[in-house]
Symmetry: D3
Subunit: 244 residues, 6 copies
């Protein structure tokens, strides 16, 4: 079991992982990876408009509904583990203690790769913060002097998943993943997000158009792979390979 | 034999391929690829200072010496095929007919990947020109209406190999290749470049330091691969994958 | 009639204007503009794969089919005027005489705004060339010494319309146009492009997702405009306004 | 009165709003907008050199003089409302409570557009901080779960006004506003800044040269608008329009 | 005399050198340099609106007036040598033969530094072309195989002088030169440009504001140099120094 | 003695100053400067892997060994003064009080120039933080209202020294310093870093290759300076000069 490959998703709000990398999660679970999802907040204040428009709503109720939704989506994606840090949102900011809890998770998971938000997002400073935090906690997890004796982290890739309104974020995907075989799971997970029904078809269309990009970059008119759904990712670090 | 993998290097001047991707060439030959090197010029005017400092030198003599050097280096790297287009240098500029000859080579080779120069180089406009040309000829080779009936090109990656003074060029490597096993061949090829002896050790040091980057990105202090020599490359196009 | 507003589209290949700004064209025609479309080539070599896969095809036949398609699309969009310069494609490059013909068109139209391709496109150097050409001919059209006595051009905005695979092009839209009211015309024009049926739904999805961006930037959850289809554009030049 | 248009300026130090967008303020007041200016600090430590060179100066005295100057300038510009948060400067950093006070102001004003500092400024980290803060508080003001029941913010444009030494800041104006009609008010406001007399003519020249840019981009030699004074702004978010 | 320092200005149109680096020219002449100005065209078609608005104007007349103006300005600046290549403008494009004539000039001058246009200019493609050309001819002048036997060029800095509307060009000055002592000469040269009287005060204001930047970067409030007029430049190549 | 030139290095971890600017330090000491090195942390948690791999190690022991190493290196470089702030690392973050202590040091030193880390470093967020901090404390040190009566700081250049994996950091050197004459001192200082022996030759190779860049930019094939070891730096602020 120590040979099981693993991956870690760091999600600012509890729904982000679904839209942005639900396909990657489901696919890697099928490939035998153990994928852990870490939700820093529930998006309870800033990404739950539909709930707040209901009467008699409270912060705790919103959190609890958002958590239930995220857990349902995680089940649909067959996520190995989902954890909630409940750090608050709008704005999201972690204390040193909370950062060290994230480091604990990273060291525990020992991910082969990590997934998080884009570097720039003028619409959502929580997303920017989470990307910067991901770099910081990855670095701490690599430090031999942090909780000496624990197994330190190697050098996993950090993939930045697709933001909303990609061009405004300066996000440039360098990797397209074919998620056709797990699309049904991703769509099922998406449909757990009852509060954001206006995005169900939006992200279906994103996946279909990313599949066009997959085809074009795998051969185009000369015989590209017939992917129907795909996700794009931007790598932070260079790859090390034995063949180009 | 139709299953043989192939690669194509487009080199502005006849020595560029040695310093910049000699390791990738030798390694992929060992992996069973057929690698073709296309030299657009001999670098006879601009990159042959040492020869021109000799008395009695002529353009034809310089070309012939440069060609001999390049061929010797190609043998050291066990290049499958090396071709010289003799388009002239400083400045290098191809006519439409010459461009179509490059397209012929591309279609003939049907490369799994291509290698060429960086996008920006204020010291050497021939290098910039060659990168732009590589995009143009790759596009023409993909056109069904160019010499209809010929097999069109798919969508091979174009890797930009390492320029001189990398930071001035805005070149950012996203792929490091371990060339430790073929280093002796690369060094032997480098030593064929008698006119640029001052660069032999320079590029040996580059390869050693790139190996440090390989190690750091493949695990760092937590057990990175013990590469001793490496080369870096920047991808122009996104990758299409089935696993992150 | 001298008060009629006008617009000019400079399209590298004869189909580009449909996918990329068909909505803007139809909408501005409805607003009373006269929109002229200038196709520099038919895309006969590089963007007609489906035709070339048919037997007995020739360059002239392809051109003629592409022209017919473009004219049909223009009718669907109620384009005021469509012109074909037949400069050849893959690669596209204009002689000085051909550039001056473009300048003639610009001066004749005296556009209130211009539309053309994105600045960078590693997949399609014809598109990059056309953007650069658009800057050049706009500048020549402004020169008092070019065909003195003709009415010189003012300072129309040059909008860069949406490329394929936007993030790879560094294209960042700063203007979203609601094309809901003319969507049927754009879809009809799209369906004239029989050779590229795989893109019909692709660009329908683009328009739907751009409408989401329109909504988000016109009020979002707090009451954004209920656009269903939109197009995005990047401005080259600053705007001059009397109110922010 | 609920139909009155409004605007909000977030100024790091109490004098910034005068130099950088005094014209926009005065002009929009004349257009019927209610413009609110929010000064996060007085610039008491870092931008009051002249006062500190006087003998017997204290922090409170400097603040009080700076406040008086800012109020005088606000009167000259006919600002609807000016508020001082007194958060301290050099460095400026807001607590969560202070951030929420800014959010209160935003929600109270419900601005049609916002104005703040440039994104990068190596000379003045308070300015960078204020831009980032503006994104953060705008986001919080949009959150339905922040003080539920309050009216949430829509999606106002955030314009970045002109910094000092523009090129060092990577600031690129995409909007020029003609302030000729209110120039006298801006100059009067500028002259309230007794501590920075060396900048009076500097910013007059900036306004005159920006007017040249206004003319060039509104028609140039072919009949650009004869603006004499202008201000430039960079938009953070895309515009949503019904006509290009 | 062989020890005389030299500089070379490559100017797209005959007036550019005056506005953009007239101060640097006059100052270095006073410092004992021999400064050569090379005008690739007269700007006869695109930058002579005022002349073309006169009746009975012809291309030859315009060129002759523009040449006279440039020569007068050169005298005012005490330029060592001014040469006109008459390559045509709008668009400007040099044949290989014309490029080699520029190379001849460079080798003849053997400049300690070169001055030319900014890298990007969407308003004026001749300016972009000239910057790219400057890199190309500098490179050819360094080639030992170009006219072997001639003295090759070393590695002079290429400074990009200030364009119009600097922020639109992505131009970022890294060097400010105090031209206070030669301001009268620059203003006199500027006043030779009778056709562009609307720019006399514009560029005077630029020089005054650049002096503010000089002061700020040479000590600011703590005692910066009291420059009154300055010019800014962007370096293409790194400096080599013995002291930081 | 008040005329002694000074320099200040702000180093995130106690070893950074050795690899990144040891040559500049030793050279300027020989030139008569007083160079002060300020180490914000010892790198005790994150950059002391070798020590932590030993048994019986504690945080205090690591700090003390790291301090001893840094002091030995400082002696080898003949550093005027080295100070340790012990702010902690991985992550490094200064309280306002600690920031003001850095400001005290800056004002005390009154540096002619400052040296610190690159702006971006996804591998090491402490380095990014230190660069941002350097801008902030430089600004506070310039404020007349910070500890009024103290001598305020002028406008010293901030040079960003060379990071590890330069291209990943977007670092672009604009200044190369010849450190050949003090190389032995830098190598001796490097060899004090017993915990990072794998980097001794790495940074020797960096210095040798930077010397190649020095030669190329000081004349190249036409007679560049025969530097054997060099260091590169990126300037944050523009220079103010009397001669180009």
């Amino acid at each position: 079991m120590s040979n099981t490959k693993t991956a870690l998703v760091i999600s600012a709000h509890s729904a982000d992982f679904v839209w942005r990398c639900g396909g990657a999660i489901a696919l890697h679970q099928e490939l035998g990876y153990y994928v852990t999802v870490l939700c820093l907040s529930y998006g309870e204040r800033g990404e739950s408009a539909k709930l707040w428009k209901q009467s008699g709503m409270s912060l705790e109720k919103v959190k609890s509904e958002r958590k239930a939704e995220a857990e349902a989506a995680a089940r649909a994606l067959e996520v190995h583990d989902i954890q909630f840090l409940d750090c608050g949102d709008y704005p999201l900011e972690l204390s040193e203690e909370q950062k060290f809890r994230v480091v604990d998770v990273i060291r525990d998971v020992q991910p082969n790769f990590m997934l998080s938000h884009s570097q720039y997002d003028p619409y959502n400073t929580d997303h920017m913060y989470t990307m910067k935090l991901s770099l910081e906690v990855r670095m701490i997890a690599q430090a031999w002097g942090h909780k000496p004796g624990q197994k330190v982290l190697g050098a996993p890739q950090l993939y930045l998943f697709e933001p909303h309104q990609t061009e405004q974020m300066g996000w440039k995907p360098d990797t397209f993943l074919d998620i056709t075989s797990v699309w049904d799971k991703k769509r099922a997970a998406i449909e757990c997000m009852e509060g954001q029904q206006h995005l169900w078809d939006y992200y279906t269309r994103v996946a279909q158009n990313r599949a066009n990009h997959f085809r074009r970059n795998s051969g185009g008119q000369a015989g590209g792979r017939a992917a129907e759904y795909a996700e794009g990712f931007q790598s932070v670090f260079p790859r090390t390979v034995d063949e180009l």
